[in-house]
């Protein structure tokens, strides 16, 4: 099963769109490097709608008081309680053992298409 979620021109780097594959809500994200990532749009915490969340760059620190933005490392923050996910892996940042189901997403012509199948490295493409 696959589903077109938008036109390629409607999803720019740093943006996301919502979609649906059968009964499953999905969120499709285009990262700052142009790669596409799709995952179930339901937070593992209390089911918050992740497609209504926010994309931020991941911030790290080497020492107390530092905020160091990491390039090409966006996180998706749940709109409800703020759980954060690595858009490339679907993992919860504070607990990588917990992971959102991810889907294959690719461009077909001028459309962004999500497929009810696990992502492949080749699928995370511009």
């Amino acid at each position: 099963m696959k589903q077109t979620v938008c036109r390629t021109s409607e999803l720019l780097p740093g943006e996301m769109v919502s979609g649906q594959i059968g009964p499953i809500p999905v969120v499709v994200v285009r990262a700052s490097d142009g790669t596409l990532h799709a995952m179930v749009a339901k937070c593992l915490h209390q089911g918050g709608p992740l497609d209504k969340g926010r994309l931020y760059e991941h911030v790290t620190a080497q020492d107390i008081g530092e905020y160091i933005p990491e390039k090409n490392c966006e996180i998706l923050k749940c709109p409800w309680h703020g759980y954060e996910y690595d858009i490339r892996t679907g993992c919860v940042l504070t607990d990588p053992s917990r992971r959102l189901q991810q889907f294959n997403v690719r461009e077909e012509g001028d459309e962004v298409v999500v497929e009810l199948a696990p992502p492949t490295p080749a699928a995370a493409s511009t």
Partner: protein, 366 residues
Amino acid sequence: MTEAAIRTPVVGPERKFHIIDTDVHERAELAALVPYLEPMWQKYITDFGWVPERNLPYAQFAAGGLDRADAKLPDGRPGGSDLGLVRKQLLDEYDIDYAVLTGWLDASALHPGWPEFKTALMTAYNDWQIEEWLDRDQRLLGSIHVNAHDPAGAVREIERLADHPKMVQAIMYIADKAYGDPFFLPIFEAAARNNLPVGFHHSENSPTAFGYHRYFVEWHTLVPQVFMSTIISLIFNGVLDKFPELKIIMIEGGFTWAPHLMSRADQQFKQLHSEVPWVKRMPSQIIRDQVRFATQPTEEMSLERFMSLLEWLESDELFCFSTDYPHWDFDSPYEALPLGLPVELKRKIFCENAQALYKKIPALVG
């Protein structure tokens, strides 16, 4: 090892483990510290009448006030003033192998003002502690009191005494300052560098979230608040991540609140950790790795409830037994914890957990 052998004061080689009491209060009369003060500071006590600031607006509504009624001296001195009575009522009575003195006067809980005098006073207090207590009974271990309001002076004091074989920790009483503030960082760096744990103890200047309630019973119920604030401050300001080898112990705050704190801190961290990216581990894991709890004051509870607390903590290495002698809410080594605790667990709580915390003790045990 039978149950009876642990719950009765067995002496000699029959007992297979030691009892380490992690909170015993020795008491000085202010005048007794004067000879230990540098001469230039002495007149402020002898002539100018300086006394420690005390915010607590109540008396303790216990039979003996602050102390067990039977721990006060016939001449009116407070409990913990006389080594002979400490031996009789605690060390000998319960066959305590080692007792960590946690003091009476601690500048960290006093007003930040006049830091030079208070730093000097802590030096005097530590020297008095060593000469009057540690040198007079091999079972007594000491705490390096520092003036946290003068971090440079606190570091000097830690460096001065870190190699003393019986000074097992640095200690700071808690008032209303969050010790995770970078202002205090040099103190933790010095403790970590010298492989000394840091003890935290509440004080008569520890407020609740509402300051000082109308009654002592309210304030005393809420004492754990300042311990929670201290732990959370040290975690989220990155102190415990910056010094992952540093161990800290919360003294005289009990422990039943620890599972709640760990659970709530973890939840907040999951949701808000991007605010504090220097924190690298889940708070509950930081606590399991680096925080210990002196057990007193215990709360009467069933064995089942006690074991469920441990299950929630996911560790049996966090609790270190303490009596808080000579205070009014003293915990008896034989009565305070629930009956029926497994022997191996008792061994950890009464001895091994403290032994792991205080690295100098194994050398003393030999």
